[in-house]
Symmetry: C2
Subunit: 332 residues, 2 copies
Amino acid sequence: LQELTIKDVSTVAGVSIATVSRHINKTGKVADDTALKIDNAIEELNFRPNIVGRALRTGKTKSIGIVIPSISNPVFADALNGVQLVAKENNYITIITTTEYNSSNEEQVIQTLLSNGVDGLILTVSNEKNNKLLSKLDKEHIPYVLLYNKTDNKNRSFVSIDNKKASQDIAKTLIKLGHKKFGIIGLPIHISDRSLIRREAFSNCIKQNGLEKPFEIDATHNLENQLLELYQSKKYPTALFCSNDAIALHVIQVLRNLNIKVPDDVSVFGFDGIHLSNFINPILSTVMQPSTKMGEEAFKQLLKLITHDGAHQAIVLPYELRIAETTKQIKH
Amino acid sequence: LQELTIKDVSTVAGVSIATVSRHINKTGKVADDTALKIDNAIEELNFRPNIVGRALRTGKTKSIGIVIPSISNPVFADALNGVQLVAKENNYITIITTTEYNSSNEEQVIQTLLSNGVDGLILTVSNEKNNKLLSKLDKEHIPYVLLYNKTDNKNRSFVSIDNKKASQDIAKTLIKLGHKKFGIIGLPIHISDRSLIRREAFSNCIKQNGLEKPFEIDATHNLENQLLELYQSKKYPTALFCSNDAIALHVIQVLRNLNIKVPDDVSVFGFDGIHLSNFINPILSTVMQPSTKMGEEAFKQLLKLITHDGAHQAIVLPYELRIAETTKQIKH
DNA sequence: TTGTACGCGTTATCAA
DNA sequence: TTGATAACGCGTACAA
């Protein structure tokens, strides 16, 4: 694939490879006429420097590794877009790996990325706390930024929204609409620590308002049957908080199949603000995370860490509560 | 990031680097006890070979480059998943780049990928015909597989469905439902040759059935106003063919804002079969492409090309016509 | 301002 | 079965 080297360029231009290298990298002075000769040679041969050789020599690959649960979830796709946008501007390429929501894949993909010599990592891990892998990265001084994960560790950087506050906002909104019985549909902790944070913040807010502790459903385990069972009982929740939009869309479809009307019979709240939640009918009430912006910020912070001109940072971006059509004042 | 080398391993194991390399790559005989010593050293140091050094030496990076219009469109995200699945099995990493539907970005991202020494490419280009870049790749014998693009060139490999037949199927379905006036909403040729193929196949099928040539709308140009204008006239189409699902979802939302009922007033057909088209209400009638499978097949074919044990292949996968809830028999 | 020569980590050839 | 060493393409210290 890569036949030409700077040797070829130097031959055609009639100069040494050192001069060619200097001109390409704009390090050191090169006479105007030799610069021209080199440019012509590069043009003529259609030469592009071999990044592998450069990487071996410099110890930098100008690539970053990304670890996310899945590409298919639009939240992460949007974040990837943000990362790519800024990465491209800075001449970095991105190597994307996914864990498919299986945390035991995290180690392997990170090892693969490190082995490929990435200059840094952007990670969304299942669980930030007591994470052996992150500790290992810390110990080896490998630059990384957490995306969506939050941490209290001052020696780690992360980009996130305030999940706790957003979840409380949702609880308050639903309470204000007159709801008294709640359900939470989320992911287990070994899959997503964000889900746990959202669940607890929501649940605590409900309880602090003197209302009954929400019923909890694990979305990974036979969702349809669980919903069916729940709604066959008389005392079913009138409001459901889903810990992400993908779950919310799925829940709404299941309810529709069960002939339970949203929002007339049940209000549903999501979390993420994926574009398509805006296209469904009724439009989903949700928390709009600035995913693209989050990806951009994650890369910018990572770049600071890589180039050593930045300390660790907790970047918390604003969110927007979108109260749309899947939530409604309760009937009395 | 990568401090340890096989030199360190050889020191700890008390053998030469050549033996370590042989053992790691299972090339050449290594005595059982020295193999054990090497394994222990690798374990103890937590050594992983430096892929950059290996790549420089072997000329193979075990990486492939992917060029798609966008990560945010779930069609491509699903295809990426398929590629990653098989790539991972074969110890290849994937470098993903996007053109953001701007064909002038194609050259730059491909150059970047080649410069990074990828062993091959998977491409979805805006327009396969008269594509200078593809000709250049052909000339330089760079292995690549087209994904979603179709080609008549026997010296190129591609993975696709039969867009023409699928579009005819849609036309026939709508005709059978009694529709007589049609609209097509698509992308211009410089953005997507698939859109053109679908449009023409649909249009020709309509005309061959003695019906009026469909009205055409460019989705990239002020969609809302165009639809508003169209539906203010009396003779508006009762059936709209959108050349992909993303457009269809957008169109449905615009119609909803204009208070035009789908499917009661207008039938809408999409194309792609993204997961979320199944979650909207009404459920979208569309062509289900096996995107994940298509990604898998693209990688498998690329691997054959890379390892030289395969000829070029036209891989056409079956699709499924999903006649769901956005299409309806016309009122008389 | 330019050129020579070394080394980054690895694999592969050759000799032992 | 093992070890010494050249080479991959590049950047850079040093010499000119």
